[in-house]
């Protein structure tokens, strides 16, 4: 008789890779068909892609004919044009300035993601960062050559439009959200009208408005340059969406918090600043990150009114007669840049959601 303490190995077909395949890929006839279809799809798509993108691709060709001869992707094109794509028409010798500006902006974004800085220091970081970036980009002081903003371009411009857009839209958005929940009918109506009007129209129409209507709105002899107009359109647009995000947070604060603040005799301003907003804004950080991703992607629309952001400078690099017909490569390169930023931020927001949710889970 065998003793009970003798442990037997689990049946061979319930662990290990074979069981895994059986369980995860072939558990039912439908599942098996799906697996076969998926494998077929991968076999159809992957090898030609690898052949095009890696095996037959040319990385070092010096002319477009040489590049095309391989029959694969022409990554040499990216090597030739990356400065134009990343920095646009910014004077070639001064391109270290937008590079540093871009690094500062990225550092600002990363620091905003760290819980350690979620206090007053974040405000100083942003104000300091945005001022430094402006000085670097414009120049004109500290011995830096002045560079007109019509020459700005590429990745720094995309980052500037997105970060300045969110940063400046933030106070407006919070004010609009508070206004929408106000008990004063006139203020509430104004806020609702603004938010719903902006959210009902596409960003393109706002950009068109800023580029053709804003000049008409201003008194004679007074003009705003094109970049600033686009930035204003993005701020106005982002503020409406931000307001809705913040409103969600405001609604999630229990009524007792409002009443508690009232019973302490706090004014509306004190109540909002000390009690309500700190709690509400903490709840809405994940959707705020999503909004930032959306604004970051949407800044690519400024192409349509002819501003040299990452998208437009890429399109310009494609017009070089000596290097025609490599748009797929260029678009993949730019997609990769956008993807790294957006994917990083969305992963961060998912982590954050998990971390912040611990207090509420039962």
């Amino acid at each position: 008789m065998s003793t009970a303490s003798e442990t037997m190995a689990p049946p061979a077909n319930s662990t290990g890779p074979i069981a895994w395949v059986k369980e995860r890929l072939f558990s039912s006839p439908l599942n098996a068909i799906l697996t076969i279809l998926a494998v077929w799809l991968v076999i159809m798509a992957l090898p030609p892609l690898i052949e095009w993108g890696l095996i037959k691709a040319s990385f070092t060709a010096s002319t477009s004919q040489e590049c095309r001869a391989g029959g694969g992707a022409c990554w040499a094109f990216i090597g030739k044009k990356y400065r134009l794509m990343l920095f646009g028409l910014y004077p070639y010798d001064e391109q270290w300035r937008p590079l540093i500006a871009a690094i500062i902006l990225i550092a600002m974004i990363i620091m905003s993601c760290m819980q350690r800085f979620w206090n007053k220091s974040l405000l100083y970081i942003w104000v300091g960062g945005l001022v430094t970036v402006s000085i670097l980009m414009w120049g004109g002081i500290f011995g830096l050559k002045y560079v007109e903003d019509t020459l700005w371009g590429g990745l720094p411009l995309t980052l500037i439009l997105a970060t300045f857009g969110i940063a400046i839209a933030f106070p407006f958005g919070v004010a609009l959200a508070l206004g929408r929940r106000s008990k004063m009918p006139a203020i509430k109506t104004l806020c609702v009208l603004y938010i719903e009007l902006i959210r009902g129209v596409p960003l393109i129409s706002m950009l068109f408005m800023s580029s053709v209507m804003l000049p008409l709105f201003l008194p004679e002899g007074f003009s705003i340059d094109k970049l600033l107009r686009a930035q204003i359109a993005i701020i106005l647009f982002a503020a409406a969406y931000l307001a809705e995000v913040v409103r969600g947070g405001l609604q999630a604060i229990p009524k007792g918090q409002y009443e508690g603040a009232d019973s302490l005799g706090l004014s509306f301003y004190q109540k909002s600043r000390l009690i309500i907003l700190p709690q509400a804004l903490k709840i809405v950080i994940p959707p705020l990150v999503s909004l930032f991703i959306a604004v970051f992607k949407d800044t690519s629309l400024v192409v349509i009114i002819g501003i040299y952001d990452l998208m437009q400078s890429t399109k310009v690099s494609l017009t070089d007669a000596a290097w025609r017909g490599f748009s797929i490569e260029a678009y993949i390169f730019v997609s990769l840049i956008y993807f790294v930023f957006c994917y990083g931020m969305s992963k961060y927001s998912q982590n954050l959601e998990k971390r912040l949710a611990t207090g509420h889970k039962r």
Partner: protein
């Protein structure tokens, strides 16, 4: 105890105007806010009127009746450069609606499939769906549109070497050519049958629900519905004399004649919009399904329902309540995103209105038309989806 309302236990003393009175403050704030807005509005309008008079631009919508003088690449209604601006804008509007309606239908189907696939027990299927969703959602739509447009116009061969995907379907850099039914009254009857099927299904659903409430007997609504959707158009086609010939595109000279065409612009815009929005809809669907308590799955399993039955009868109806509101905003996004058409040259309302305002200088009117169109579409979609949301909302005691 200066506040009269605290000590005023006897007859209420007359209220005095005081900054400490919240009502007074509220009125003052509102008056200030409204007058500020009115002042800004007046400032902008007066500037605008002054600027317009300096530039000799007349305001108003009279320009709509003038001859447009520009051609539009594709149009669902007859249009030529000799038509008026009003008709050109109408063409733009119809093009926008066309891409929005087709896009919403296709994106919903694809998004639902991908969303369910992401939750599949099948590892490979779940991973592929996940990669799709992550890549699509993290690259700007405009870039994707440029990408598809470049694929169609640069990598596809010319019409003479067109790729013959299926018999009668040709892909070239001039667009996708499909066989189309020839002009025959039978197809009109079939289309009518298709519409009729929706009305009949509505009646059947109503009747089936009544009967189930009364007798508890379920009626095979889904199967009847599909049978009606297929059967009625087929019947109409038979009634019309069952014409068999299709208008297959043929190569003639340098291009194809006959058949239906998806222009490169339309195809790129449709592919881009559908793939992009489907990525977002997939996440909405996944979140909705995951929001349904796992106990529901287990209870359905205990009743002996299969996985697909559980999904169809138990889980999806409950998750619809979670899905509908975010789905509505995805539909609105798709419609608004269709305005990116202007970047690849599909003549939607933004593109046509933009051409119009460049030609006539009527910037304000042009922008107002664009905004009015999108606000109307957005509001209609919201209203419809809110109505639908009410229909499926949980009715509690």
């Amino acid at each position: 105890m200066a506040d009269p309302r605290v000590t005023g236990a006897q007859s209420a003393p007359p209220r005095r105007l005081s900054w400490n009175d919240p009502d007074v403050r509220s009125v003052v704030y509102q008056v200030v806010a409204v007058s500020l807005i009115v002042f800004i509005g007046w400032f902008l309008v007066s500037n605008t009127l002054h600027n317009l008079s300096v530039r000799n631009i007349s305001t108003g919508f009279q320009f709509l009746t003038r001859e447009a003088g520009f051609a539009i690449g594709e149009s669902p209604i007859a249009y030529g450069p000799e038509n008026t601006y009003a008709r050109a804008i109408m063409v733009g509007l119809l093009n926008t609606l066309r891409i929005a309606v087709i896009g919403i239908i296709l994106a919903t189907i694809l998004g639902t499939i991908v969303g369910i696939a992401r939750l599949s027990k099948n590892w490979l299927v779940a991973k592929i769906s996940m990669i799709y969703v992550e890549v699509i959602r993290n690259v700007p739509l405009l870039l994707q549109l440029f990408f598809w447009y470049a694929i169609i116009t640069e990598t596809l061969p010319g019409p003479r070497q067109a790729i013959n995907v299926m018999p009668g379907v040709f892909m070239s850099n001039r667009g996708i050519k499909l066989p189309a039914p020839t002009d025959h009254v039978a197809f009109d009857i079939a289309a009518f049958g298709f519409l009729l099927a929706f009305i009949v299904i509505g009646v059947v659903v109503h009747y089936a629900k009544k009967r189930q409430d009364a007798t508890g007997k379920a009626f095979p609504v889904y199967r009847t519905g599909i049978a009606l959707l297929v059967g009625l158009p087929f019947l109409g086609w038979l009634l019309g004399g069952a014409p068999m010939e299709l208008n297959v595109p043929k190569l003639q000279g340098f291009n194809y004649v006959g058949g239906a065409t998806l222009t490169p612009e339309f195809a790129a815009l449709l592919i881009g919009l559908v793939l992009y929005t489907a990525g977002f809809i997939a996440e909405v669907v996944r979140a909705g399904i995951q929001a349904v308590n796992y106990g529901q799955w287990e209870a359905a399993g205990a009743l002996g329902l299969s996985r697909s039955q559980t999904l169809r009868l138990i889980v999806l109806p409950q998750s619809l309540r979670v899905i509908i509101p975010p789905m509505t905003s995805q539909y609105l996004n798709l419609t608004k995103n269709s305005s990116l058409a202007v970047a690849i040259g599909y003549p939607d309302i933004v593109s046509v209105a933009n051409t119009t305002l460049n030609q006539t200088g009527q910037a304000i009117e042009g922008i107002m038309i664009i905004m009015a169109v999108y606000l109307t579409i957005s509001l209609s979609i919201s209203l419809f989806m809110n109505w639908y949301n009410k229909q499926i909302a949980l009715v509690e005691r």
